[in-house]
Amino acid sequence: MRQYMTLPWWSWLLMGLGLALFIALVALSIRRNRGIKRSLFATPYVLWIIIFTVLPCLLIAYYSLTDASGNLTLDNFRTFWDSNHIMREQLRGVAGDEIAATVVRGSVNVDTLVYSLWMAFLCTAICLLLGYPAALFMADRNMKLGATLVVLFIIPMWMNFLLRTIAWMSLLEDSGLINSLLRSLGLGPVQLMYNQQAVLLGMVYNFLPFMVFPIYTSLNKLDPKLGEAAADLGCNPWRTLYKVTMPLSVPGVISGITMVFMPSVTTFFIPRVLGGGNTQMFGDLIESTFLFSGDWNLGSALSLIMMVLILISLSILRKADPNGEGGGIA
């Protein structure tokens, strides 16, 4: 078991190169312009991104393609696809091909991924269904409560994400607020925690603002005259919503979907706290592979698969909003 690995030699080289480049640029621009070039101010950020984003990504790719002793291998990806393949190999050496062939494909990793995608999809869909009307309400200039609602959505975000999730425990647990209420009404304790619904509830609760605010922003930017123009041309309020407001808020919706879907797929704390380990999601799997199994190579492979999936979904979403008008990351 290996908790901390030494970095490969080339990562040090890359960091050194970055630092050298930074110093060289500063020296050069000071000499040539007798002052500091404006683009130079970007260098710390570029450097930051190289060290803390680009380099870790390269490291993950590197680890996922090597084994514990640093040899190139695709074994980690095979383990993702078939978690029993190592056992089968070992059995083949001991008991022969026939017995080894009886070991079925281990589908834990793939199943967890599919389950995570499904949960993320559900969470995104629920957030969209709840969030769009909320955003509509908040952006409506005739609604005096709109501004209040904006604040109400922001306040919980000031509190720590973990704290908010733990707070749900005290509501949902057997001796929690809801169950005490039910008990006093004679409806008995109901199992509210440690199931899929509780996890979904926690996810929707935590990620809903990320759906509401991009949509709210794009609705807020809409010229109210467009709604009047639609009414003027014969649209009743529902048709105005369907023919003008909704099509024009697509960038916000896409941005919202991105910002909910991505953290939903990778979430790992909520299922552990509210799901009680009964429902493992891909984020939990990656976390436990790194921290409990200590298998950095397999963990990296799983992370890489996750990353590729996210990149693919981002590029699909990007097609629908080519100008990035939603103001999100997509």
Partner: protein
């Protein structure tokens, strides 16, 4: 041309926002095929009046009759009027064709019929072949014409236009004024036009409604409004004017600028305070010895067609337009024909009812 039948009647319309009165007891009628212009400075209530007719605002009190039926509670999408908005409000997610077809598609017309009518509209506004363009790729003038086409294609009873030419440059504006007017005459549609540009109003309208601070000051055809302004404000707003305080000595004799002048107005009573309005082009420059007034030229400005001179006559200062220039500092005589001296009571509030 203009028919006698009333298409729209506004009866005693009052509109308040949070206790502030923006329209105060407005009464007005619009006849079929009439080109009516609401004219006034910003904040006078002209746009609010238009929005009440369109259905975007509900009057605090009063009634809006459309062909004799009260439509105050009718939502905008059920009214047979269409609006051309100040900044056009074209749908950015639709191309030119789909913008214009918007209203027709709602009526579930057959596709071929929609295409035919949209193409005819594009022809009318000189945008044939622009159907597939994005609206934000068009120039201001083109967007404006798309906005007009989008409204006109629905064949509304009344077209409401809210300062539609405000965002265009002078030359384009002049061209569009003529185009709009000829379009209105050809199609025989009633136009209600809102503007703060008096020249635009004079050029296009059958009837001008001059508004200020939520009141109607005067209603009349352009020539009447220009020649016989109801009060000093209208006179000042429509064209340039010299406005002086004066006293009506008796019928057909008015005292201002320290002298008595013969005029053609009567019925004000004796020694009544009045506003005297004289257009700058109605003051003639004559020899110093033959003028009714004498004065010194303070400044001379070349304005293209004429010179604008400020003449100091001691008791009053006059703005005079003349095609012949007099040098600055020279003494001149001023002469005013009685017909060109307009006498008016300080501020009146006319309506147009029944």
């Amino acid at each position: 041309m203009v028919e006698n039948e009333h298409l729209i009647d506004l009866n005693h319309i009052t509109k308040e926002y949070d206790g502030v009165t923006v329209l105060d007891d407005i009464s007005l009628y619009i006849r079929r095929k009439e080109f009516v212009t609401l004219l006034g400075p910003s904040g006078c209530g002209k746009t609010t009046t238009l929005r009440i007719i369109a259905g975007f605002e509900t009057p605090t009190s009063g009634e809006v009759l459309f062909e004799g039926r009260d439509i105050v509670s009718l939502p905008p999408y059920k009214r047979r009027v269409n609006t051309v908005f100040q900044k056009y409000a074209l749908f950015p997610h639709l191309n030119v064709h789909d913008n214009i077809a918007f209203g027709l598609k709602l009526k579930k017309l057959p596709r071929a019929e929609i295409d035919r009518r949209v193409d005819a509209m594009l022809d009318l506004v000189n945008l044939s072949g622009y159907g597939k363009r994005r609206v934000d790729a068009l120039s201001g003038g083109q967007q404006q014409r798309v906005a007009i086409a989008r409204s006109l294609v629905n064949e509304p009873e009344v077209l409401l236009l809210d300062e539609p030419l405000g965002a265009l440059d002078l030359k384009l504006r002049k061209g569009m004024q003529l185009e709009l007017k000829s379009m209105q005459q050809r199609l025989g549609i009633t136009f209600l036009y809102v503007t703060h540009d008096q020249e635009e109003a004079l050029t296009m309208s059958d009837t001008i409604v001059v508004m200020r601070d939520g009141h109607i000051l005067q209603i009349g055809d352009p020539k009447h409004i220009y020649d016989e302004p109801a009060n000093a404000f209208v006179a000042d707003f429509i064209g340039e004017s010299n406005i002086l305080r004066g006293t009506m000595v008796r019928d057909e004799l008015v005292h201002f600028a320290g002298q008595d002048f013969p005029c053609v107005d009567f019925g004000f009573g004796e020694d009544a305070p009045v506003d005297v309005v004289i257009r700058p082009e109605d003051i003639m420059l004559v020899g110093e010895d033959v003028g009714q007034l004498t004065g010194t030229i303070r400044s001379v400005l070349f304005k293209g067609v004429h010179y604008e001179m400020i003449i100091d006559c001691g008791a009053a200062t006059f703005k005079v337009h003349s095609t012949t220039m007099q040098p600055q500092g020279s003494r001149v005589g001023l002469s005013i024909v009685p017909f060109n001296i307009h006498i008016m009571r300080p501020m009146e509030r006319p309506g147009r009812e029944g």
